[in-house]
């Protein structure tokens, strides 16, 4: 049985408090009046002008062009920037909320795969997976509240522009999609997804604990768990795909990509497995998971390695197909990202692919806890940036910065995630002793 140490509890509460402060600061500083935005823009251009006089002539030429535009620059530009600024704290929260929600969802999918495939190595880690997926219900509800809340609270700061009736009014493309992209349908779909996932999680957990208390040889709960896992995986593949269109892709309602759902899935499963490995290593370090040996860590690290490459494969497939064909209506997505987010967009490729590829290729490294921890931290940072680059260009555009609102949001939801996961860990023994594969799992050796 695990009990949260007071230190850890205080730590996560401090994270939440700091996060709330950061988010509040973000909201207080983001809502500027039109006049303030205009003075800000003028100052920015004056500043840029000073720089160009010193720097190379190429930049100077670019700035002359934009300065010419400034002469004619009307309120339209200022209003646009004002909206972008107002959207920043909302988007920062949304990215963090999505980040932790996708981790919990990835863990739940991984857990269902292990049960449906009757994996012999995994049962010693089932309680860890169940605990992490406990964050799914609150996490997904927060995501939805933020998505819809950004429309109803405040003025013109919605994360999804198709929720703004004024935008839709003079946008033929969104009008044509409004049969799918409207708030009622969005909410109905979200409720179906969240209800389905949470129902699976609830029953899987229930059967898992019931199997512990069952008579030896009574495997009825195990069999039920197997059946619902298989059913959930079918449901999950459909809903995950639709979820990625709804919650992520529709921030750019003019753009679409067919393999987007898989791409989002690869990111969430790699994040989920990484968190499983990190929690398992933490608990093992505390001596609470004596049956987990370094072969289990090795297996998790292999999954981290493999799914990192799978992520890179899908990232590249999506990027290269669009880059190669260069069809204007598709390519704007990457043009805006490469222009304004160059470092993040290509940097995350290093964090999510090159680094894990080189670090986790060696079989011996995968058995060393601190190596897996280090790789895990890098993968999680890379996965956060991945979501950041999916959402931010559509909401704040080139007005992005990783500052107090973004870090505050990560701390807020990170603290909440920690608190929910650790609380859930305390509610059941860490060894699922009734599982028919537990003996095999304890003796697992690779």
């Amino acid at each position: 049985m695990y009990t949260i140490s007071n230190r850890l509890k205080t730590f996560s509460i401090i994270l939440i408090v700091l996060g709330v402060l950061g988010v509040a600061y973000g909201f207080m500083t983001s809502h500027k009046s039109l006049e303030e935005v205009k003075t800000m823009l003028v100052e920015e251009h004056a500043h840029e002008g000073n720089e160009t006089s010193v720097s190379e002539h190429v930049e100077g030429a670019e700035n002359t062009v934009s300065n010419h535009a400034d002469v004619a620059h009307d309120d339209g530009h200022a209003i646009h920037v004002q909206e972008q600024l107002a959207k920043r704290p909302w988007s920062a929260m949304y990215v963090s909320a999505l980040f932790f929600m996708t981790i919990a969802l990835g863990v739940l999918a991984f857990y269902a795969i292990q049960i449906a495939s009757q994996a012999g190595w995994a049962p010693v880690l089932y309680r860890v997976m169940e605990a992490i997926s406990a964050y799914l219900l609150p996490g997904a509800i927060i995501v939805i509240l933020l998505a819809v809340g950004s429309h109803y609270i405040g003025h013109h700061n919605e994360i999804f522009i198709w929720m703004n009736p004024e935008v839709v009014a003079d946008d033929k493309l969104i009008q044509n999609k409004s049969g799918y992209l409207n708030i009622t349908a969005f909410l109905i779909r979200a409720i179906i997804f969240i209800a389905g996932w949470s129902t699976y999680r609830y029953f899987a957990r229930k059967f898992s604990i019931a199997q512990d208390n069952a008579e030896p040889g009574d495997n009825r709960n195990f069999k039920k768990s197997f059946r619902i896992a298989a059913g959930f995986l079918v449901f999950f593949m459909y809903t995950e795909s639709i979820m990625s269109w709804d919650w992520i892709m529709s921030v750019d309602p003019h753009w679409f990509s067919t393999l987007f759902g898989w791409y989002v899935f690869s990111g969430m499963i790699v994040g989920g497995i990484t968190v499983i490995a990190m929690v398992a290593i933490y608990l093992k370090g505390k001596g609470l998971l004596p049956m987990v040996n370094n072969s289990h860590i090795h297996d998790l690290a292999k999954y981290m390695f493999g799914f990192s490459i799978f992520w890179a494969y899908l990232w590249f497939s999506q990027f290269m197909l669009i880059w190669y064909a260069n069809i204007p209506e598709e390519v704007v997505y990457f043009v805006s990202r490469i222009e304004d987010y160059k470092l993040l967009f290509f940097g995350m490729l290093v964090l999510n692919f090159v680094f894990p590829f080189l670090i986790l290729m060696n079989s011996d490294n995968k058995r060393v806890p601190w190596f897996v921890m280090m790789g895990g931290v890098v993968i999680l940072v890379g996965h956060y940036i991945d979501l950041f680059v999916m959402i931010m260009p559509a909401t704040v555009g080139d007005r992005w910065y990783i500052g107090i609102p973004e870090i505050g949001s990560v701390l807020l939801f990170g603290g909440l995630f920690l608190l929910v996961v650790l609380t859930s860990l305390t509610k059941a023994p860490l060894a699922p002793k009734g599982n028919p594969f537990i003996k095999e799992s304890e003796n697992f050796h690779y």
């Binding site: 590249f316 990027f319 290269m320 190669y324």
Partner: protein, 177 residues
């Protein structure tokens, strides 16, 4: 003794018995020359104390060679030698047109890593067509396991030890060199 060396062949019919025998023989500090088995016996290399293979490392290096070959080849052909405008693809620098080259870079890396690895394996384990089979007893390809140890000064004692480990057949062999 010049020109010949004596070895003892011990025959087993079960891999578990064989594993126990290997541990016993090694504890007695006799040198195991070779073991012939019809299928891979899990953990036998560890029990025999064989050094781990370095084939994976060679494969990684071959992969790097393949990657370099592909980059140099494409850069020379598409960018340096004859940079044509093919369908508007930017051929001013390697990096600009790189996404189009990645499939080739990937495939050549895998090709080199896989094929050179296999060839290395054949060379290191001396396998080639028309090679004369080195099997001392044809039963070891079916259902028998054979352990070959160097015969020491006291062959009778070695025979006793091997029989005690469960060997079904122990023979002294003169190996002509």
């Amino acid at each position: 003794m010049e020109g010949t060396s004596k070895v003892i062949h011990a025959m087993y019919t079960d891999d578990d018995v064989l594993m126990a025998a290997v541990k016993k023989v090694r504890a007695e500090r006799y040198h195991i020359e070779e073991i012939y088995t019809p299928f891979p016996v899990h953990g036998l290399d560890k029990a025999m104390g064989l050094a781990p293979t370095r084939l994976a490392i060679t494969s990684f290096l071959y992969g790097l060679v393949g990657l370099v070959v592909s980059i140099v080849m494409i850069d020379y052909m598409m960018i340096e030698d004859w940079p044509q405008n093919i369908g508007g693809k930017p051929s001013f620098s390697y990096l600009e047109n790189m996404p189009a080259f990645v499939p080739i870079m990937f495939e050549l890396t895998v090709f080199f890593a896989a094929h050179l690895l296999v060839i290395t394996f054949y060379l290191r384990s001396r396998l080639w067509p028309f090679k004369k089979a080195e099997n001392p007893d044809t039963r070891t390809t079916d259902d028998h396991f054979l352990m070959e140890i160097t015969a020491g000064d006291n062959v009778d004692e070695q025979f006793d030890i091997l029989r005690n480990t469960g060997a079904v057949e122990v023979t002294l062999i003169d190996k002509a060199h």
